[in-house]
Subunit: 239 residues, 2 copies
């Protein structure tokens, strides 16, 4: 059976303007691969309500899981929770359990639980909270959409909370062979080998290092024995 | 007048599996911002013909320019050129000018111009070649879609070839103020300031550094005088 699929939606003007380099997509990609969920697509959109709604609705219909990052803080440009509610057509309100979590957190910290901070308790109806062990303000899951913070250490902690609740498949395994030849030299035999293993995915990635050029040949799949067999043939071809 | 818009499409299984961390999106975002083109959306899809065609057609219809990276090498998993031809519904053939460039390159290098390398001369009908000063194999522009290599130094060289040919707008300028306060403390006055400058975009980005938490407040826009005026008020509020 094919592995479950996922998409990621990164939300934030700061990524698209080049101010910030996103790291959450790469982190999530590795975690999903280990968990046996295929990350099939990723998108980045700006802090724009219509753009978020269109992307969420396209992705949640096409894939088993959607993970979002960014836009759930206390400031005026944090509009993700409102947009998710809009995408699902459900109301959004300040929720008592989220308010209690946040009130206790700011009380312990001796900081005012002001109006801006109370915005972080606004959760779409029907959602389940995602634990935030770093700074308390929760993420949430609504349907198959998991809404998480953009700050990398908080995003990572939320992924760790969510992943064990999801059905995974066979982890995607890979082996690679580094050859000191250009892609154009290995392409024909490598392509012929790939054609003989339709259940495996084979990719080639050129590099240059200290003026030497070469290619990393990567074989991916979920069946370790089949990958081993293909690797033996790859080594015979190119080693 | 609003600046021209752009989207980026990153093509490659290796990004979605977490094997490789994409750097081209962040590079392009910065270049477009300087050139006065608004990067409005970015997507990552796998080496899958249907996925590439669907994304290219959605993005080229919605934005002024589309930039793709990845999948134009000589190996069996390099299917971008064929997919772009499919998206536009045009034939793809080995083009004489691209063949001549590549033949001369491999002749100089003393390397065989074999069948795999000849695949890199396959260009959709009606496209214009994009110069590749690093490794010769060209990218191409078809309609408003610019198709470039995924290897970062080649991608960057191709962007440098393409950008001067595009109509830009006013460069997006930004100024930022770093404050040693949490987002929740600055959110209300910062939001009120943002509401008074509808032509500017204001964003807040929390950080923790050496155990101290704070927020970077960023004001973006194309009118330097307006940004200056808003910054003065920001400093009065928070400095």
């Amino acid at each position: 059976m094919a592995n479950p699929t996922a998409a990621m939606l990164v939300i934030g003007d700061e990524i698209l303007s080049g101010r910030t380099r996103d790291s959450n997509m790469h982190f999530l990609a590795g975690e999903l691969t280990r968990h046996g969920i295929t990350l099939a697509e990723a998108r980045v959109v700006s802090d724009d309500r219509a753009a978020i709604i269109a992307a969420v609705n396209a992705l949640r219909g096409a894939f088993d899981n959607v993970f979002t990052s960014g836009g759930i803080g206390p400031t005026h440009d944090d509009i993700t929770a409102e947009a998710i509610a809009g995408a699902f057509g459900v109301p959004i309100t300040q929720r008592a359990d989220a308010m209690a979590l946040l009130a206790a957190h700011y009380d312990r910290a001796g900081m005012p639980f002001n109006e801006a901070r109370q915005r972080m308790a606004r959760i779409p109806d029907g959602a389940t909270l995602i634990d935030n062990p770093i700074s308390t303000a929760p993420g949430f899951t609504l349907g198959n959409v998991h809404v998480m913070a953009g700050v990398p250490n908080i995003f990572q902690a939320m992924v760790a909370s969510v992943l064990p609740t999801l059905t995974g498949g066979a982890p995607l395994l890979s082996q690679s062979l580094r050859v000191n030849r250009g892609e154009g030299e290995v392409a024909d035999p490598f392509g012929a080998l790939a054609a003989q293993y339709p259940d495996l995915s084979m990719g080639s990635y050129p590099f240059t290092q200290n003026g030497v050029f070469g290619t990393n040949l990567v074989i991916r799949g979920t069946d370790a024995a089949q990958i081993d067999a293909a690797m033996v043939r790859l080594v015979v071809l190119f080693a």
